[in-house]
């Protein structure tokens, strides 16, 4: 059963220095901005962060990187037109980068949640990103060995939670949320609304409550929860 935190600050208060933190979102869609800001305010440092990108503009993850709180980032696409804080940290040698093809990143996160010890994927075979890695020819095709990405925490944004922690998402803001919730020891979720247990249709739950540790309601600017999936 999840805890319902009264504020983003209290939701992330347990995050210690040197933790590995999965952060959901693809661009701004699904980015748990208020949780990231609370993490910034909380002061934890030496973090390993897993996100598709490495921060945009002057907000959220970009500020965590600017403040040198991220020791290492595991991502697929760090360089963007407005990734200047990452660019500066990287060129200064002050952040470690593990670059992973996006689908391997997603599958490695999924593997962690699913208890898979490692897997062979064709993606990246024969490229500089997998140099020196274990390879195997399977059905005539080259594959590389990839390992799960386990984490201490996941910070996620969903549309609606019920009090049992079941989650639904909205459109392409779903992206990394479900797999990150399952891969972390503790998953902290910001939602637009919290409804009573029983108000989400069991057929339509995307993340079962077993994967959710802490919920915090943030008054979101996105359309209301009532729009999707709530039966009452």
């Amino acid at each position: 059963m999840p805890t319902i935190a009264p504020s983003a600050a209290e939701a992330v208060a347990g995050i210690r220095d040197n933790s590995t933190v999965l952060i959901g979102g693809f661009g701004n869609a699904g980015q748990p901005m208020e949780l990231i800001n609370a993490l910034l305010d909380g002061g934890a440092t030496g973090l390993t962060v897993v996100n598709n990108n490495a921060g945009q503009g002057d907000a959220g993850l970009a500020l965590l990187i600017k403040e040198r709180r991220v020791r290492k980032i595991i991502c697929s696409f760090p360089r963007q037109s407005d990734s200047w804080h990452f660019d500066a940290a990287y060129r200064a040698g002050e952040i470690e980068l593990e670059l992973v093809p996006q689908g391997n990143l997603a599958e490695r996160i999924r593997a962690a949640g699913a208890g898979i010890g490692g897997f062979f994927t064709p993606t990246g075979y024969g490229t500089m990103l997998t140099e020196g890695r274990e390879t195997r020819i399977i059905d005539g095709r080259g594959h590389v060995y990839e390992t799960p990405i386990h984490a201490d925490y996941a910070l996620i944004k969903a549309l609606t939670a019920d009090r049992a922690g079941n989650l639904i998402y909205r459109k392409t803001a779903r992206n990394f949320g479900p797999i990150m919730a399952a891969a972390a020891k503790a998953s902290i979720v910001q939602v637009g609304s919290i409804v009573a247990t029983g108000e989400l249709d069991p057929e339509n739950v995307v993340t079962p409550g077993i994967y959710v540790t802490t919920i915090v309601q943030i008054n979101a600017t996105t359309p209301a929860a009532a729009e999707h999936g709530v039966t009452q």
Binding site: A112, A114, G115, D162, A164, A182, G198, P202, V205, P208
Partner: protein, 220 residues
């Protein structure tokens, strides 16, 4: 010694009630087919225990009867069940990912034998003419944070089912953390097998019949 010695050997339902009372509030639990299913009768609502069934559901309710029977809503034993508020459905790969990924707090299983190091044998008698069938037994044994076994302590021939090494084919290696029997509760620890409590017998009496070194557990 610290082991609690209680008055009488536990009956089937008393044992189920004991297991139920040992499950921490808020736990996610899978109850195996057979004797473990009885545990659900003794879970109290205020424990807020969520039951998982490996055929794709969290939030499983009690067995369905009469008009509540729905052929699309069954448990892993193919018994019609019901749905509780807060339930969710998911496909088989997601369901077993939930187990294998270590997300269930407790799994309660039956057993033919358990070894002193927590090896479990519960799927196959090893009889040469038996048709083998494993189902989800190995997944359940491997995945949960805690694996509780419920079994009779002695076979019909009087031999101990808690053994030094299993003679039946294994279900999982080093996976069992507790054994609940009508005669005693055993904890499998890194330091060996500890007896938490006995029912109508003593640790000394048990030690005479069980070929595994037993120690008293510290009081809870």
């Amino acid at each position: 010694m610290n082991t609690q010695e209680k008055g009488a050997r536990l009956g089937r339902d008393e044992l189920a009630a004991l297991v139920a009372s040992d499950i921490k509030a808020g736990s996610y639990v899978n109850l195996g087919i057979g004797q473990p299913t009885l545990v659900s009768n003794y879970l109290r609502p205020e424990q807020s225990v969520t039951l998982h069934t490996e055929n794709g559901m969290l939030g499983m309710g009690p067995e369905a009867h009469g008009d509540d029977i729905d052929e699309d809503l069954i448990n892993a034993g193919k018994i019609p069940v019901t749905e509780l508020p807060g339930a969710s459905y998911f496909h088989h790969a997601d369901s077993f990912a939930m187990m294998r990924g270590g997300h269930l707090d407790v799994c309660v299983l039956g057993a033919f034998q358990v070894s002193a190091t927590g090896d479990l044998a519960n799927w196959h008698t090893g009889a040469p003419d038996a048709i083998p069938a494993v189902g989800g037994a190995m997944d359940l044994a491997t995945g949960a944070k805690e694996v509780y076994v419920m079994m009779s302590l002695f076979a019909k021939d009087g031999s101990s089912k808690l053994v030094e090494a299993c003679t039946y084919p294994l279900t999982g290696v080093g996976c069992v953390t507790r054994i609940y029997t009508n005669d005693a509760v055993f904890l499998i620890t890194a330091d060996g097998v500890r007896v938490r409590e006995t029912f109508g017998t003593t640790l000394a009496e048990l030690q005479q019949r069980i070929p595994v070194p037993l120690q008293a557990a510290p009081l809870r």
